[in-house]
Subunit: 136 residues, 4 copies
């Protein structure tokens, strides 16, 4: 990625109102890879006191979608799925690492893994993106 592309992606993050409103932070971005995190807070829990499955999916989709944009074009989610392995609780942050499985001209597939503070795998999912014509 060029410095200019990085700047455009940072702008994309700023314009992602939902990402801002639930507090997802982007930590790292390189070709085919992105890493981010979301602080645990009482506003995003389910009735059982762990982070809501929809929030976890949002974190995964957001970070994987940004990873897909590192190829130089914008991405739009075609479909996504998440497997819940362990409850997200007793951790200050949930971290997400997304890496490329396939980056084609039109179709990209990324895996997202969610981890707690100690690095334990909480959730894993795969996201399919359509790559838009417009360049980042």
């Amino acid at each position: 990625m060029t410095a200019e592309q990085k700047e455009i992606l940072s702008d994309l993050v700023r314009k992602n109102r939902y990402m801002q409103s639930i507090g997802i932070e982007l930590l790292e971005l390189k070709e085919g890879y992105a890493r981010g995190r979301l602080p645990f807070s009482e506003d995003i829990v389910n009735p059982y006191g762990s982070m809501h499955g929809g929030v976890l999916y949002s974190l995964a989709d957001t970070i994987a979608g940004l990873a897909a944009c590192t190829c130089g074009r914008y991405s739009s989610t075609i479909d996504g799925g998440l497997h819940y392995l362990r409850p997200a609780m007793g951790t200050a942050y949930v971290y997400c690492e997304a890496h490329v499985l396939r980056q084609g001209r039109q179709i990209a597939v990324y895996r997202a893994e969610l981890l707690d503070d100690r690095g334990v795998l909480l959730d894993t999912g795969e996201f399919t993106y359509f790559m838009l014509e417009e360049e980042v």
Copy 2:
């Protein structure tokens, strides 16, 4: 469902902090079925101006999870997936209808369909739940 179970489920909705914080409303609940909606707002859009994919998934999982509880026990999501068919924009609300595909003693599968104000299908997904021992 008994009146008592309905009351317990309403309480479950009140305790679902994330559901409250993004504004998901439960509209209807009967055995094997739930319907809800989420008002469109600027806080839950993606950078392209349509409702964020993570929000749409959250709506689907929340309503389908409540539908699963109508069997009289609490549900915990094992896995979920969503297919994005059309962008969620130009609509005051996104509606979700969830209905049972299989309600077993331990495993339940529900389909969630998201629709705009005019009833156009925006997204569809399937969610697998583990049914907890505790009764609603």
Copy 3:
């Protein structure tokens, strides 16, 4: 679909060696829809005596993929998933109905439902296809 397109699709069926070898039959084909079936046989069961999950998925993907071709172009599976609701046994055939959820120029999404002789829903899944440039 034109008569010519129907003929080309029949040819596609004849060239689908795996479809022929496990015995999938195409019963009906119209725009955005296909229906087929697979006879139960001892060669395609799992160790528990019901039709193998991989065979059921194969039936679903094959029929949904043909349904996607009714738009006039060839399809290639991007991803697919199946939920197993009830075991496929005690039935002479498993039937598959596939119908369009979204038919775009490049991306198509189809739902496949598998039913037994009495019309009981056994399995349901969603398949995402990339539509090739070549016309049927």
Copy 4:
């Protein structure tokens, strides 16, 4: 795994008629892990000449299901999904490696990765199993 359990699993493989009929071979089995392969043949191709998506899914589900049985109990697939990354052609075998993501008392989640002769990743998927009461 005990020697006795290994023997019971080998028996399970022999009784898996579909696995035998398409030619899936089990190569390795240890706790939370299984590896197998399927020879490329003209009987299992799609109309485009690559291995059929349903066959690839069958290989993944079969090997991941055997991996799940290494915990000492039988497994039944709840749901499965596969992402097709690259066409399976020009390879003598397709190999499958499955490893545990979560092995619970009732629910297990396994990842299956399909590779060609040179170790290139062709497909990846995740499978959810219900663990039966009966011991292996």
